[in-house]
Subunit: 242 residues, 2 copies
């Protein structure tokens, strides 16, 4: 069974939601038969790459809230993160464009290290003092290497703006088709959806229901007209009756 998770590195609820989902998955009996794929969603796709701002200033400018209100929101998020055992830096976090990080996550997916890199990016963005936005590509190269990826290859991906760019956009188009307007957004076998960082027990319930409904494929064929399947297997290719 397949679970797809749309998220953004700049999304605190995605950070919290991944931890809650991971707990549900760790306790799920069929966890070894669940494939998890992380998909791209940018909260702020039109922000210029060099437009990095303090989160509080961005929030108060964009939504007209006071910095004190924005800070209260950060403190609340910090408490929710702490309840999941996650570090969260409630002071001085910054905000910027995440497109390159999404490209790097697709590169990591191709090498089987996507979940590890996403964890590293979340930790770097939400828990560490250093910025993931202002230090240039080498900061991301270090995080990729820490997640088990080849530094030189990660550097090449970051240096080529076209690398994995189509994959990021395809994920975002697919999110729109599925009706996701915010993240995190969890899709189980393309049948069930969970929107937002729901409590761990909701993910457990979703996994259980989707698993129970994980019916075998309904095969469509030409029925009565069939002259035998035209297919090849380990024992050779069917020779059609002609």
């Amino acid at each position: 069974m397949r679970v797809e998770i749309w998220s953004d590195i700049a999304c605190p609820w995605c950070y919290v939601g991944k931890a809650r989902f991971d707990k549900a998955l760790a306790g799920f009996a069929h966890r070894d038969r669940i494939e998890v794929v992380h998909r791209s969603f940018e909260l702020d796709p039109h922000r210029a790459k060099d437009d990095v701002q303090p989160v509080l200033a961005m929030l108060s400018r964009k939504y007209g809230m006071s910095e004190a209100q924005a800070q209260a929101g950060e403190d609340n998020l910090g408490a929710q993160a702490a309840a999941e055992g996650l570090e969260y830096r409630t002071r001085g976090r910054d905000h910027g464009n995440t497109f390159d990080m999404h490209r790097l996550l697709h590169f990591a997916k191709a090498h089987g290290r996507q979940s590890e890199l996403l964890d590293a990016l979340y930790r770097a963005n939400f828990a560490e003092e250093r910025s993931v936005f202002t230090e240039g590509p080498e900061r991301l190269v270090d995080l990729a290497a820490g997640a088990g990826l080849d530094a030189e290859a990660a550097r090449a991906v970051l240096a080529d703006p076209a690398a994995y760019a189509d994959d990021v956009r395809a994920d975002e188009e697919e999110a729109a088709r599925l009706g996701a307007t915010g993240v995190p957004f969890f899709v189980l076998d393309r049948r069930y959806g969970v929107s937002g960082a729901q409590p761990t027990e909701v993910f457990t319930q979703a996994l259980t229901r989707a698993w129970a409904d994980h019916s075998p494929l309904h095969l469509i064929d030409q029925g009565q007209r069939s002259g035998g399947a035209q297919a090849c297997g380990p024992d050779g290719c069917a020779v059609p009756r002609s």
Copy 2:
């Protein structure tokens, strides 16, 4: 909606089946909203990389048929291919290990050129005089470049046996989980399956049924206990009621 197609480059029915499916897709009203993903399946995964044999000799050795019987099968396949407008070399084709080609197809997927490379590999294997098995990696690099991929990057993928190897194996494990024992094997939205190179109208029927049944996601949430979705969107992150 998503269609996944498991196939092998060494599978003549996959070559024919892709052409039939592509025709059904080209005539399908919602074709722009169908995502097609090609997945790996090796018919002969245990064959050593340097063990390349003429197809007829392989067939007669493996299945105890005469070379004349094997040749009749090839002629029949050639006729079926011709009926789809495909070239098919019925004399002198060879057979070998396709693992590296599957790795290259995953690289092509990451760059949005998977269908193009698969077409090129089929054409090279089934229609052209030159072998895809005996000329070393440069033959595959040329085919990748012809499909719009960067030759240097393709060469690097072929030179690194680990590159995309896990993706190939993951596809094969997924095929087994879905109950596919032969290819081509088509899976529509993980709900409907089509096994073998069925006639174009069967693919049209499958697309139509799967599309009609392409229901919106069933959302699971915490219901009565909900304090508002903990999610972030283009308009900011929800601040939880606490």
